[in-house]
């Protein structure tokens, strides 16, 4: 089958890239030091790539809208707001004193509580549609964003550099303990959701057809939203705001696999997400020597590749 062979190809590509990432530049003098660190980064890349790809796929299916990413819910704006707020009010030293542990747990906690409150408020009445939930999310996101950019403009340029480091996702200083916590949270959520791929296929037909075919729409969508919120919060707090990756990954994935079945779409998007992150990290680290954030590389290459795919499709047909 075409889809399966493409998935196989993607997996092989991923393995090659991962091996390249581990081995490149390794020699007997440094492997004791470098290998464990590279393994750590690789694991966090898999984790973040999968979380983002996964949550965006599910999100687009639920909302039936191919240009949205979970960032519409305002979670990354909230994250940037928390970070900027702490630096702005207390100075960058506090972030260091509190340690990354506390920052991680507090950020994830705040984001998850925020989104659960949002969903609770929204799904308590039957009348509320997903449309108004998203509008609500956009409004709150803008609210946080305007406060954030206001504080950033007022900020001392040296303090701003601390915030700027958090504005761009980075895999370079991930704390080991935090990574384990994140893995635990993410894997549990992923396993929970994988049972529901068929329901997702049906949901992608739209609300009415889904209800007609016997899916408990409201409660299902609500559960999926909470899962998405957890995944996005974990990956954002781990490496920084990176949801735009999701948009590129999911759309490239849909172009390549050309299927509606989530049984294939989900693993496909996870593979592509990890491939793009490892590729981006390879370029950022080994070729650019950390002179540019990884999101810049991914957005550039991913964007160009997507436009190329669309143009190619037009020419063939």
């Amino acid at each position: 089958m075409k889809v399966k062979s493409r998935l196989l190809f993607l997996s092989i590509l991923l393995i090659i890239l991962a091996a390249l990432y581990l081995i490149w530049g390794l020699n007997p003098n440094n492997w004791n030091y470098a290998l464990p660190r590279r393994m750590m980064k690789l694991i966090s890349i898999f984790l973040v790539g999968s979380c983002i790809a996964f949550s965006t796929t599910v999100f687009q299916t639920i909302t039936n809208n191919r240009i949205l990413t979970p960032s519409v819910l305002g979670l990354d704006s909230l994250y940037m707001f928390i970070q900027t707020f702490v630096v702005f009010i207390f100075g960058s030293t506090l972030l260091i004193e509190l340690g990354s542990h506390f920052n991680f747990i507090a950020s994830v906690g705040l984001m998850v509580v925020f989104s659960i409150l949002l969903f609770k408020f929204f799904f308590s009445k039957d009348k509320n549609t997903i449309f108004s939930l998203l509008l609500f999310g956009v409004i709150l996101g803008t609210f946080f964003q305007s406060l954030t950019s206001f504080m950033q403009v007022l900020m001392d340029p040296n303090e701003f550099l601390v915030v700027q480091n958090r504005m761009f996702a980075s895999f370079n200083n991930i704390n080991e303990d935090i990574l384990y916590m994140a893995i635990l949270g993410a894997v549990a959520t992923l396993i929970y959701i994988l049972k529901y791929t068929r329901e997702l296929d049906v949901i992608s037909l739209g609300r009415d057809s889904a209800i007609n075919l016997g899916v408990k729409y409201t409660s299902f969508v609500k559960r999926m939203f909470i899962v998405i919120a957890i995944l996005v919060s974990v990956s954002t707090a781990l490496v920084g705001p990176i949801t735009f990756l999701g948009l590129i990954v999911v759309n490239i994935n849909r172009q390549i696999l050309n299927t509606y079945k989530h049984k294939y779409l989900i693993p496909g998007s996870m593979l592509i997400g990890s491939i793009m992150l490892i590729g981006g990290q390879l370029i950022a680290e080994r070729i650019m020597h950390f002179k540019t954030p990884i999101s810049v590389i991914i957005n550039f290459i991913g964007g160009v590749y997507f436009i190329y795919l669309i143009l190619k499709e037009g020419r063939l047909s």
């Binding site: 949205l68 409004i139 206001f150 403009v153 540019t292 954030p293 020419r315």
Partner: protein, 315 residues
């Protein structure tokens, strides 16, 4: 509708006569030389640019959302903002000492070039559908933005550029806002094409069967959006909400017929922006709060309230 126009007139008068220099409404027939200067150099340009920006951006949002049949598309989705940003970066790097007007012109040229690149890509796609247009815009925007960030990161210009694009009316004086006039004919054009956009908003097949030249209407819509939003972004900066939320609110109350909703959208945009601007000028008088902040904070509360009220009507 009538109420909206009344509010607009009231706020306009208020906007012109509020400020550090004391000018009262009743002095209008015997203004001193000083007062005339203030009015001509600062107050009136500011007022005009607020109205044009408010009305223009909300109209752009509405057109974009109709054409793409997607309520979450904003006028900056066409990559306009990112190309303007690239233009600002280039002008800062290449001619650092040049005047603001040169920088604005450079970035305007970039914004236009970006928009035509966007249209050019769209033209090459055979099966244009409503998903593809915003997707291509977003992707092109992300490519341009990554180029900008790449260089801005190296030259430590990120804070500088974000300050440029932070919406701000306090810098608007005579000689710095005239670029905005370019957008006025396109606002008029938008009104002339309102009916066609409504039809195009019903989908390609339907509109072709009604005898509409679908591709042409879509292209005209995109050109209007690109020109208006690039002039506004460059002269005023990024203003949240206007393009996304205002069209959605208006269409909740007035439906999707552009002929009916276009004027309300434009007026609501202008009223909202005028109100936020006046508030920003008064709160810490004689200083000012940036418009982006008042719009973002106040707008959130107003719109959340409207959304909640709207729901209780239905429920």
């Amino acid at each position: 509708m009538k109420r909206l126009i009344l509010i607009l007139v009231f706020l306009s008068i208020l906007s012109i006569f509020i400020g550090v220099k004391d000018i009262s409404f009743w002095d209008i027939f015997n203004l001193s030389q000083d007062q005339i200067q203030v009015l001509i150099l600062s107050r009136i340009p500011r007022f005009i640019s607020i109205v044009v920006a408010g009305a223009g951006l909300s109209i752009c949002g509405l057109i974009m959302q109709r054409i793409t049949q997607n309520r979450f598309v904003s006028p900056t989705t066409a990559g306009t903002m990112d190309s303007a940003k690239l233009g600002i970066l280039i002008s800062i790097i290449i001619f650092p000492g040049s005047s603001t007007l040169t920088k604005m012109t450079t970035s305007f040229i970039f914004a236009l070039a970006g928009s035509f690149l966007f249209l050019g890509i769209l033209r090459r796609i055979k099966y244009r559908n409503t998903v593809i247009i915003p997707l291509i815009g977003l992707m092109l925007g992300s490519v341009l933005d990554s180029i900008t960030t790449f260089f801005a990161y190296r030259y430590d210009l990120i804070q500088n550029i974000s300050a440029w694009l932070q919406g701000d009316f306090s810098m608007i004086i005579k000689g710095r806002y005239e670029l905005l006039y370019i957008s006025i004919p396109f606002v008029v054009l938008a009104f002339l094409y309102a009916n066609k956009f409504t039809v195009a908003g019903m989908g390609k097949d339907f509109s072709v069967s009604l005898g509409l030249n679908y591709n042409q209407v879509v292209t005209i819509g995109l050109v209007i959006v690109a020109l208006i939003s690039s002039t506004v972004i460059i002269t005023v900066g990024r203003i949240p909400f206007l393009g996304l939320i205002i069209p959605n609110l208006v269409s909740m109350y007035r439906g999707d017929n552009l002929k009916k909703s276009l004027l309300s959208t434009a007026i609501l945009g202008a009223v909202f922006l005028l109100f936020c601007d006046i508030l920003g000028r008064v709160i810490i008088y004689p200083y000012e709060v940036p418009i982006g902040l008042t719009v973002g904070v106040l707008g959130s509360f107003i719109f959340l309230f409207l959304l909640a009220r709207r729901r209780s009507y239905e429920g």
